[in-house]
Subunit: 334 residues, 2 copies
């Protein structure tokens, strides 16, 4: 299996991408990792790397603030576009990027195309929940004005992922809504509710945003706008609360001492809230396997994304989705 | 000024409602408080109350899980409906309820009606932010499928509130979106962006969910579905993180000791995240002044809502909204 990594994408690129790749390459000698990026910059950083890592040269970089469609069209030799093209040409099984999200989604869609029968791909991150499992959100921002049929397809894709990659036997599908009662919500959720109920998915009904972190379901289905609000509020609250905590814990000598005594607990707490433990966001529904790692991905996050990518490919999730969607009569949903 | 309180509404009713009312009545001898509810139950609890609190009997209670429209139509003698009717009949200037949100919104709309020119009222809570000011969210759940014009009206109402009640000189209005760039978002936000830009409001552009708690703006404008997701994710994350913290802090004797040493800081932290310090959610755009206190309101939250109500009435926020909306040519927005 060949896993390509956009070495130049992300706030901490290329160092954290390389570090994460080296760790993964050591642990999984059966995979081959290809770092896509500026060869002159990358080569010296790979002096100690194991032999199952190589470099694929790409001369350009898509910056974080570039307009996605323009960037993909103009920067044909960027690490991001070259990486996605490798997947299209079957030179790699997966591409992982921590770079410009919009550009990555655009490249994935334009270059590798959609899985036949899927109307709209979904950006599908896994958010931390109480316990360790996490929950997949589809869609967290690929498709802003979604239709009920899109949400049904998200549910099917999420269910397959949760079963095959997260190892959940009968994934619980929740519809993100403003209340748990059936008739709650907007036009989109009301119509989607019926579609999900008629499907053979393990649909548990509407779920409220505050219950997502309590792990009431394994897969949260929503339009890309709402999913983005959910995801970014979770991220923002975790960050804000951690910084408020830090402020309080460093205020006095007593509080500093107490914080030291609490260090193992605080570390565990941070890990529980940490996206780095849950891998990247899949672009579910595109032909090529494309994983969007968080913009500020640490080496650990890249390493986790590589492990996730391996499992995704081994389990042939995209193949299962294609078969499921083509036989979409409602009676064989995973 | 007469402030009516639905004594029977809320998870901790009637005790926390009564406690909060007594505290407020003592501190503000110039207001009169009317507790609406079961006289036989309330009378003994008011033995020590100051003379500016009285009881208005109402024999029924709207339960938290009742279907709103049915409850309002059938339970004419419920504390919730009687309280809203008092406002309609000018027997009270404000009604505060911690009861069934849907029923309260329905009663407010059906019984007191909309402010002339306002198409849709907005449920408008104030969420905690870094610092102490808080930010108002409109709409957090009154109107699920909103139009751009609704959002413009929310912005106008929120701006007047922030100026008059929160004391912000030139309230910063943000449009909740998935990114800060102008062209981001769904059909609704794209069209609303233009309307807000043409207005004379202090529109600062799109704001991301993760920046709301960082207080990038004083007023956050959004459709009721997205606002509800934002609000409930914030609540849920605060609750989940506090419970993870508690778990870690009670794990060992050392961590328990450390938590004791940190108590003042933890208390300050909890206060910073506490909705009870920010009053209730206004139903902006209805004729009568109706304040929805949080379902699990403490005495402190009720007390804060009473102070908020007093200021709202003193500043004649509803009168200002009516005048602003009627002269809605865009050149005199507060």
């Amino acid at each position: 299996m060949i896993i390509a990594i956009d070495a130049m994408g992300g706030d901490l690129a290329p160092s954290s991408n390389i570090e994460g790749a080296i760790e993964a390459a050591r642990e999984m000698p059966d995979i081959r990792l290809v770092l896509v990026g500026d060869e002159a910059r990358l080569t010296p950083m790979l002096a100690q790397a194991p032999t199952n890592i190589e470099i694929r040269h790409a001369s350009e970089i898509v910056e974080a603030d570039e307009e996605p469609v323009k960037a993909v069209r103009r920067k044909r030799d960027s690490s991001l576009v070259v990486g996605v093209t490798m997947v299209k040409n079957k030179e790699a099984d997966v591409i992982i990027s921590a770079g410009n999200t919009g550009a990555f989604m655009t490249a994935a869609l334009l270059i590798t195309g959609r899985i036949k029968g899927i109307d709209r791909p979904a950006l599908s991150p896994i958010v931390p929940t109480v316990g360790t499992a996490g929950a997949m959100i589809l869609d967290a921002g690929a498709n802003m004005d979604a239709h009920p049929k899109n949400l049904l397809q998200y549910a099917i894709m999420g269910s397959i992922y949760a079963k095959k990659v997260m190892g959940v036997e009968s994934p619980r599908i929740g519809l993100l809504n403003v209340g748990t009662e059936e008739r709650k919500g907007n036009d989109l959720t009301k119509e989607t509710y019926g579609l999900l109920q008629e499907s053979s998915l393990n649909f548990i009904g509407n779920v409220e945003a505050r219950d997502v972190m309590e792990h009431v379901c394994d897969v949260v289905v929503c339009d890309g706008f709402s999913g983005n609000i959910l995801l970014k509020t979770m991220e923002g609250m975790a960050k804000t609360m951690m910084s408020v905590m830090k402020e309080e814990f460093t205020r006095t000598v007593t509080s500093q001492l107490a914080a030291m005594m609490l260090r193992p607990g605080l570390k565990r707490m941070k890990m529980k809230m940490d996206y780095a433990e849950h891998g990247g966001a899949l672009l579910m529904g595109v032909q090529g396997t494309c994983i969007k790692a968080h913009g500020s991905s640490s080496a650990r996050a890249i390493y986790t994304a590589i492990k996730q990518a391996k499992k995704f490919v081994e389990q042939d999730v995209n193949g299962l989705i294609a078969r499921e969607i083509q036989g979409e009569s409602g009676d064989s949903h995973v």
